[in-house]
Each structure stands twice: as C-alpha cells, then as structure tokens.
C-alpha cells in the first residue's frame, strides 16, 4: 500500500505531460491535418530513436552544450558581478542599471545583423548571444537578492568589525543565494532558448540549428522532437537548480522538497 502511494506520488508530475502525449496521439491519429505537418508521438519516438542511434542527436547536443555552458559562464559571471556591484555601490547602480535594463529588452533576433557585423559568424557570435541572454536574469536576481537582505544583519556585521568583503561573503551573499538561484534557474532556461537564434548564424550543428533547419525544411517530426528536447532541458535545468539549492540552502526552512 505504502509502496503504491510512493509510486503514484513519484508519477504525479509526469501525469500532465503524459496526458498531453495521449491526447496528441489521439488527435494526430485522427489525421485532421496530415501526419507530415503534425506527426504522432510514435513517429516522433521513431525519429528520435533513429537520431539517437546514429549519434546525430548526441553530436548536436554536445556542440550546443558547449556553446551554452561557455555563454552561461561568461554571461552569468558578468551578471553576478554587475548585480553585486550595483547592489553595493549606488554610483555604479546609477551608472549601469538603466543601460542594462535597456539592453536586456533588445530581441536577439533583431541584434543578429549587428552581431554579424561586429563579431562575425564564428563561434564567438553564438556565445555572445547566449551570454547576453543569460546575463540579465542573473543580474536582476542577484541585485534584488542582495538588496533584500535584512539591514539588521548587515548592521550586526558592521558592528562586529566585518570588513566590506566579509560582510559580503558572510551576510549578503548567503542571504541573496535563494534569489540568485531563482536567477540561475531562469538563466539555465534562457541559455538554451537563446541558441535557437544564435544557431541560425552560419552553422549546421546544434539543437537550435536542428529546430530551425527542421522548420525551414518542413520536418515536422524534428521540429516536435526538438520541442521535446527543449522541454526536457527545461526539466533538467530545474532539477539541477533544485539540487544545488538543496545542497547550499540547507538552513533555509522554506526549501521545498
């Protein structure tokens, strides 16, 4: 009995995705639109399996992963640094915040022509776009996280002779961490999302390329496959962020199991 319950509980989050797949199979098999533009899950699974088996998928994913991670590192790093800087120094906040708020609102799609002119069509242009996209969520959550740390604790740190660096390390950073994790969770999503634009720039590899190329050439099965891959990445990113949170926020009772 107990065992059954645990399984049900474990399956609960997958109920809805499963339901979607079932409805999809059902509607698709009715052939309201041709299977060419809206294939059944079974077709997708076959395509997926084929691409896994011949290693194509792994290849695309690997190259995307590389671009994504480098971009995350750079953009996340800059976002974190700017968030910390602007939360700590009012001057820096005044100087940079407006610009960041403006830049973050520029669509990557519109930026591509300029990126090609400035950075070219190589790897760096793709990494640049990922970094740009990832920067903002990390920035804004770091900033707000730090600003929302209780001033009482900062006062305590000051009176206890903590240097600026120590106050940051022992008080502001740990206090902001839950918020920074929300930012990271976003960033992990944005990181992949950006690739769909970035990987239209003169490349024939990567998940973004796969999706856009499939769209170009009417390969509905691959479009949907890429959607599913993206969705799975979303789940993985979320698990990763949760797992990190679990490790680093042990003290936080609001941590959600």
């Amino acid at each position: 009995m107990m065992k059954k319950r645990t399984i049900v509980n474990f399956m609960l989050p997958w109920l809805l995705p499963l339901l979607i797949i079932v409805i999809w199979q059902w509607t698709a098999s009715m052939e309201i639109v041709s299977a060419k533009i809206f294939p059944t899950p079974v077709t997708i699974a076959e395509t997926g399996w084929k691409m896994i088996a011949n290693g194509v998928l792994a290849e695309h994913m690997l190259i995307s992963l590389q671009r994504a991670l480098i971009g995350l590192l750079i953009g996340g790093g800059i976002g974190l640094a700017m968030g910390i800087l602007n939360a700590s120094f009012h001057l820096s906040y005044r100087l940079f915040d407006t610009t960041i708020q403006m830049v973050r609102n520029i669509p990557h799609l519109a930026l591509v022509p300029l990126v090609i002119i400035w950075i070219g069509i190589g790897e760096s242009s793709k990494i640049f776009l990922v970094a740009l996209g990832v920067m903002f969520p990390v920035y804004v959550n770091t900033y707000h996280g730090i600003r929302n740390v209780s001033n009482d604790l900062v006062e305590m740190g000051k009176v206890y002779g903590l240097k600026r660096r120590e106050i940051f390390r022992h008080i502001l950073l740990p206090g902001a961490l839950p918020s920074i994790f929300v930012g990271l969770r976003y960033a992990l999503g944005v990181m992949w999302l950006t690739l769909i634009v970035a990987e239209t720039i003169a490349t024939n590899s990567g998940i973004g390329y796969l999706a856009m190329n499939a769209r170009e050439f009417m390969q509905a099965d691959i479009i949907i496959l890429s959607i599913i891959i993206y969705a799975c990445f979303g789940k993985i990113a979320d698990l990763l962020a949760k797992w990190l949170e679990k490790g680093l926020l042990k003290w936080n009772q609001t941590y959600h199991p």
């Binding site: 006062e155 740190g157 206890y160 002779g161 903590l162 022992h170 740990p174 961490l177 003290w251 936080n252």
Partner: protein, 250 residues
Amino acid sequence: MTRSAVIPEGKNGVLIQIKAVTKSFQQHDVLKRLDITLYPGQFTSIIGKSGSGKSTLLKLISGLDAPSEGDILLDGEALNGISGSTTMMFQDSRLLPWKSVIDNVGIGLQGEWRPKALHFLQQVGLENKADQWPSTLSGGQKQRVALARALVRNPRMLLLDEPLGALDALTRLEMQQLIERLWLEQRFTALLVTHDVNEAITLSDRILLLEDGDIALDMDIDLPRPRSRTDSQVGKWERQILDRIMRNSS
C-alpha cells in the same frame, strides 16, 4: 544623586563623551541635547521606560546611526562611522540563519577562533548546540548565543541592549556573573541597557535613568564587589530607584 568622582581604573576601556546630542525621528525628538561622559572601564547601566530612547542611544554610540545634532567622542576623537573598538549586543539576537551556532559566534574572528568560540558557548551553557542551525534554538538560547558572540571578541567597549531579557532567573544570574567576571578581567567600558533594576545595581558602577529624552537620574553605586542580588544594601538601592521610577510616572 549628583555625579561624584568615583572613576574605576581601566586603561583598557574607551572614554565615551556624548556632547549635546539630539536625535530626532521625523519631528519627534527622542534624545534631547544629551550630555554624558562614560569613563574608561566604567560599568554603566541605562534604565528607562520602553521607548525612552535607550536603544537609540546605543546605536548612536556604536556609530551605526548619527546624531541629528551634537557630537560623540571616543577617547577624545569624534566618532565617524563604526569604530573598531566597539562591540554591541542587539536587543534582538540577529543570528545569521545560514550559519551554525558556532560559526555565528565566531563571525569575523581571525586565526584559530574555534576553541575560543566553543569556550564561550560553554560559558553560556550551549556547547552541545554548537553545530545546530539557529532556527532550532529557543528564544533564550538565541539570546545566549548572541551574548557569547559579543563576549568572545575582547572589546574595549561593550554595549549590551537587554542582553538577558529572555532568560530565566537562574540562567540570568549565571550570565550576570559571566559578564561581571569578564569585565573585571578586561576592564572594558560597559554600557548595559536593562529593565531589571536589581541587575543594574549588582553589575554596575553607575546607573543612568533616561526619561523624556534626557538623563533624569545619574547615580553612582559604590558597593563592594562581588555583590549579591539579595544583599540588603542592594535591596535598599533597588527600592530607592524603583520608587523614583514609579513616583515620577503617576
């Protein structure tokens, strides 16, 4: 009831001079042209009604807040921001929820601080809680951790804002003895805010009563130490001060 010249020796402590200090919030003057001199190594208690400005005064002396008018001098130098020689125990415990109890005690300490922090945790009776999160502590336990955190750093000036308010009689007594012992050893300048008149008398050289933003009473307690809370002399002082407090209010 005027200030006599009983200045205890204390090369270690800080000289605190408060000169015509006013502190206002919005239109309201909480402290009004206050003049106090606290001598190096002196143990002073501040008593006063809730909301009379005791915490505000401590915050000014610690440098966390600035007076609206007037100056505060430490060892003759004008205070500007936080001075390195001050330690303050806040009215609320202000423990960092993300650090274990012992890490809270040791925060900001340099070098091999663990044995020392553990020693002070033991002094406040909480060595067995060293590795717990603060959120699992009882109210009085939190307060004692905060006390240990303040005492561990050998300050030259110690500001205590109702440090024992959440403790039972026995624990309170033990903590009083701990504070007195450390003070006798190190002779820092001590400023204690308390609601327990008996506690003020047993511990301090001098008692200030804050009323309407001003010093209404400034008394030297020249009883020999160690003092006992049940001592008849202490009782006499206590009654006298309590009478003064009660009388004025009605």
